[in-house]
């Protein structure tokens, strides 16, 4: 049995690998049979001619016999497939224009889809590179009252985190982390002096962080619970792989070296694994992780919800909520963990002094619950930003691909009509209809797969380009975003390619395989076309109409996006966007004490105002389009709020020249002056929105507002009303804003330095940077850009969408027109050829007209003798005609007919078989 199996495998392989020889042998074997048969008849006295035809009858079509013999081969399906592929390739190289345009448009279509998909994959689908990410949850606080302000994840104080962690220990593990902040970092070791300051991203984490994420160090060790016990006494840091590579050149002696973070020395104890980028898929991924307990040492002052004293260390304070909590729930009993955390949260509230004293706060907080949301993909502001545009783009590229499909399908349909003769001939000499369909589909799949392969290239380039255009480029390169194609992207691309191939191949294939054998062979080529033409037109028309409809749809979408972009560009933001330059400075990181701040700001403002071209300057906490601002709940004197109403206003702390610098006009009252100092009356300027909302029925000047209701003691007197300006970006109206004099907020670090210029602000950037470096060498300038640049950044998504849709629709229209042109010229070309009695396809290039009747039946021979050159006339029996007007030799060299599946036996050489 084993030997038989062995034999069968050998036979299968041999007949597969030695196909040409097998074909020759088959030929010879059958020829021998035939000649013997003929000889026998002849000796029996029949006339030679009679013998011939008798033998021919008895033999019963040598092609069918051969085909039947081939069917006996074990590897026949593989053989067929290879043959289809070879033939497909030959067909593609035969009509290079069609192939190139088809492959390119497919590469574009599939590539665009794959590009968008790989972005969706990287941003929306791909889980954090941690073990068992599906066990991870992110804790949020929810409030049953729908009118309550939306909760953020960042809502836990350190004591609440520790309580909750201890409460659920066992069924769940918990870790806390802050937002990522930019800090000034210097690297140094014992031998060398401290390197220059550089900003880097730092995240503060609890000791459980790396364990909950199941991370292992690349070298050294990661932070553990022992690194986060005592306030201010764990100067240890873990660095990321990219930082390790960039700053230390992957040198293993990094362990034990020191990092100076915002003036506080830390010792590097380990490096994370290369694929780990933290828990936030964002523009910035952490370079350094340090323990939470070191908050005060690194002067961390990130996002928080605070009713405590932010000048003292945060970890012990229940009143400062500044942590995200990650929970790993291996048991899956999420509800119980959330319940326990709610318990800890409420217990934490009751331990707060302000909570117990403030009935209002109690009313607001007592219904708060902890909810756990799946955190397998981490926190991602980028995902929230990009999800909608990405899905919109996904739809658009889908349309684009559909257009490409319709295009290719309609051209293939046109070609299919030209191939009826080929199909008919192949059917007549023994090819099965299913086989023909398979052949046609193989051609289409081949086209689609080539397009898909190129598409993968297009996509890896395209997704990066898209990210760069969307201004997320730096994040992608700094390691946060893994755009390398994984199995999802590869599978998606393959799937799309195959689907595309089937889609545009099915209709033409069905049509071709439905060809009526007798009718096609019998009738003249022209009449075939006209008979078929009636059936062909509606489909082709529908395809063209469909393409144009799709292209039109894309155009409409493009118009919509352009329109909304146009509206954004026209939006009056309030600020004078053309003459303002803004620098971000970080006095906190540089170690200035609050007492040094007022003189610092004064010096800086004086210095930059001295630069020629600068007409005014000011310092503020946030500044225009500064990416965020403080919001506070407040009470307005004389305003009765509704039962569920909470008064919230944005705040900014400014030096007196602010409004003049950024171009906001005073509407009422006066602006701040030198007399509004720390010792003076607490004053504020509100914007028009705040005045309209809360002081509509009275003169706001002289009215007061405050964080509590004791206006005499804590209230701010309104001394002016200033013009509205958009602080939340372009898309939302001006928020309610209250401006306070920086002099009366001596503890706040102001980060924004605004300068008004007479001319183009961008031209002054380097002069100002130099002036600042000269005047205050220790003050880091983290960015310097014009207000217009900041505003434009807010429109980047809209800009991108508008340009992309315009681009897509241009491509779509171009494709539609191009194909239309190709089809028309193809039809005309085909028509001309058909007038010569030829099909366009190679299969029709050489057709053997077997019987004698071929002379008389073949159309056009008498009318156009030059167009049809008899290649080989043999005994008057087999006449090989070829129709394309090429020389016989060339035809034979190319060997179209011979290699043609099904037409295999129709040899262009000397006929070996008599029919």
């Amino acid at each position: 049995m084993a030997t038989r199996l062995h034999h069968r495998v050998r036979m299968a392989l041999r007949s597969f690998l030695r196909r040409p020889a097998a074909e020759r042998e088959l030929d010879e074997e059958l020829q021998f049979h035939f000649q013997e048969m003929e000889a026998r008849k002849a000796t029996r006295g029949s006339a030679r001619a009679k013998a011939h035809s008798q033998a021919r009858r008895r033999f019963g079509g040598s092609d069918q016999v051969k085909e039947a013999c081939r069917d006996m081969r074990t590897l026949r399906p593989v053989e067929d497939c290879l043959q289809d592929l070879r033939f497909g390739v030959r067909l593609l190289t035969r009509s290079p224009l069609f192939s190139i345009v088809a492959v390119l448009s497919l590469a574009l279509g599939i590539g665009a889809n794959a590009a968008i998909f790989s972005l969706i994959n990287a941003i929306i689908l791909r889980p954090l590179p941690v073990t068992e990410p599906e066990q991870l949850y992110i804790a949020r606080v929810t409030h049953p009252d729908p009118l309550a302000p939306p909760s953020t994840a960042l809502i836990f104080s350190n004591p609440v985190f520790e309580d909750a962690r201890d409460l659920v220990a066992g069924p769940a593990e918990m870790a806390a982390a802050t937002t990522i902040r930019q800090m000034q970092i210097a690297t140094s070791d014992s031998r060398r002096a401290t390197s220059q300051l550089e900003s880097g991203q730092v995240q503060l984490v609890s000791g459980e962080y790396f364990h909950v994420l199941r991370q292992r160090p690349q070298i050294g060790r990661l932070l553990g619970p022992g690194d986060n016990r005592t306030l201010g006494s764990h100067p240890v840091a873990v660095i990321s792989d990219s930082y390790f590579r960039r700053k230390f050149g992957r040198s293993p002696d990094v362990l034990g070296r020191s990092l100076i973070i915002n003036d506080a020395p830390f010792t590097i104890v380990g490096v994370t694994a290369p694929e780990f980028f933290g828990t936030e898929l964002a523009t910035h991924t952490p370079h350094v992780w340090v323990p939470l307990m070191m908050q005060a040492s690194v002067r961390y002052a990130g996002n928080r919800l605070s009713r405590g004293d932010v000048r003292n260390p945060w970890p012990p304070q229940r009143e400062i909520q500044w942590l995200n909590i990650f929970v790993r729930v291996p048991s899956g009993d999420v509800a119980a963990v959330a319940e326990a955390m709610t318990l800890a949260l409420q217990r934490g509230y009751r331990l707060r002094n302000d909570y117990n004293e403030d009935a209002e706060l109690q009313r607001r907080y007592q219904a708060n619950r902890v909810a756990l949301t799946p955190g397998s993909r981490g926190l991602s502001p980028m995902r929230d930003d990009l999800s909608t545009p990405l899905l919109a783009l996904f739809g658009m590229v889908g349309l684009l691909l559909a257009i490409a499909c319709a295009n290719i399908a309609s051209l293939l349909l046109a070609r299919a009509t030209n191939r009826y003769r080929e199909m008919a001939i192949r059917l007549s000499i023994g090819a099965a209809r299913g086989r023909l369909m398979r052949q046609l589909l193989t051609e289409c799949l081949l086209l689609a797969l080539i397009g898909g392969g190129l598409g993968l290239l297009v996509s890896s380039w395209g997704s990066r380009a898209l990210l760069t255009l969307a201004n997320y480029g730096t994040a992608a390169t700094s390691g946060g975003l893994d755009l390398s194609p994984d199995w999802r992207v590869a599978g998606f691309t393959l799937g799309v390619a195959v689907l595309t191939g089937l889609l545009f191949g099915m209709l033409p294939a069905l049509r071709s395989a439905r060809v009526s054998l007798a009718e096609t062979l019998k009738s003249q080529a022209r009449s075939v076309i006209s008979a078929r033409g009636r059936g062909r037109l509606p489909a082709a028309k529908a395809l063209i109409a469909g393409q144009l409809a799709f292209a039109l749809l894309l155009l409409i979408v493009a118009a919509l996006f352009t329109r909304s972009l146009q509206q954004l560009i026209r939006v009056d933001i309030g600020f004078d966007r053309d003459h303002v330059l803004i620098a971000r400075v970080d006095a906190r990181a540089a170690g200035y004490t609050p007492a040094e701040l007022p003189p610092l700001y004064r010096r800086v403002v004086e210095r930059v105002t001295a630069v020629p071209g600068v007409t005014a300057a000011s310092v503020s906490r946030n500044g225009p389009f500064g990416g965020g601002y403080v919001t506070s709940g407040f009470e307005a004197e004389g305003y009765t709020r509704g039962r569920h109403e909470w008064l919230v206003t944005g705040e900014d702390y400014i030096t007196p020249g602010y409004f003049r610098t950024v171009g906001l006009a005073m509407k009422m009252g006066r602006t701040f002056g030198p007399h509004d100092s720390a010792r003076g009356r607490k004053v504020s300027i509100i914007n028009e929105t705040m005045a309209r909302r809360y002081f509509s029925n009275r003169n706001p000047i002289g009215s007061r507002w405050g964080y509590g209701t004791n206006f005499d003691e804590d209230g701010f007197e309104i001394i002016g009303v200033v013009q509205d300006a958009r602080y939340d970006g372009l898309k939302s109206d001006s928020p309610s804003m209250a401006y306070l004099p920086a002099a009366q907020r001596p503890d706040d670090y102001l980060a924004s330095l605004e300068m008004r210029t007479a001319g183009n602000p961008a031209a002054l950037a380097s002069t100002i940077r130099n002036a600042l470096r000269e005047a205050e060498p220790s003050l880091p300038v983290t960015s310097l850009e014009t207000l217009d640049e900041r505003v434009a950044r807010g429109m980047r998504q809209e800009q991108l969408l508008a340009w992309l849709t315009i681009g897509f629709s241009a491509v779509a229209l171009f494709l539609a027109c191009l194909w239309h042109h190709l089809i028309r010229s193809n039809a005309a070309d085909g028509g001309a050829r058909r007038a010569h009695g030829a099909g366009r396809e190679p299969g029709c290039g050489a057709v053997a007209h077997h019987a004698r009747g071929a002379h008389t039946r073949a159309d056009g021979i008498d009318r156009r003798p030059t167009a049809r050159v008899p290649c080989d006339a043999h005994d008057g029996d087999a006449v090989l005609w070829h129709h394309t007007g090429r020389s016989c030799g060339a035809q034979r060299r190319r060997g179209h007919a011979r290699r043609h599946r099904g037409a295999r036996s129709v040899s262009a050489g000397t006929p070996r078989l008599a029919y």
Partner: protein
């Protein structure tokens, strides 16, 4: 396509194997031999014969070899392998059982 119309497939295999049991033979020879021995009752068409030969070869029951005919022409000769001989015995036994049963049935009823 290629389905035998004149003989049951299995029967053709049996006939070929039996014919080859005597001596190696080419396709034409097999046709003649079957025709002669059956007294022109069984006529094997090439359309059935050659696919069957190729199948039997692939199954390892017969072996093909090119050789000279008596007249000095090259022809493909098929011969029975050991496995083919066993297969012949099996098929012959089966055929006898079947035909015996049919004969008995025809004679009795």
């Amino acid at each position: 396509m290629g389905k035998p119309t004149d003989l049951l497939q299995g029967t053709l295999d049996l006939l070929i194997l039996k014919t080859l049991a005597l001596e190696p033979m080419h396709g034409w020879g097999i046709t003649l031999r079957i025709q002669q021995i059956s007294g022109d009752v069984l006529q094997v068409q090439p359309g059935s014969l050659y696919p069957a030969l190729h199948r039997l070869e692939h199954q390892g029951w017969i072996l093909a070899k090119w050789a000279q005919t008596d007249a000095g022409r090259r022809a493909k000769y098929y011969s029975l392998t050991r496995a083919g001989r066993q297969q012949l015995e099996r098929e012959a036994k089966q055929w006898r059982r079947l035909s015996g049963a049919v004969t008995t049935l025809l004679d009795t009823v």
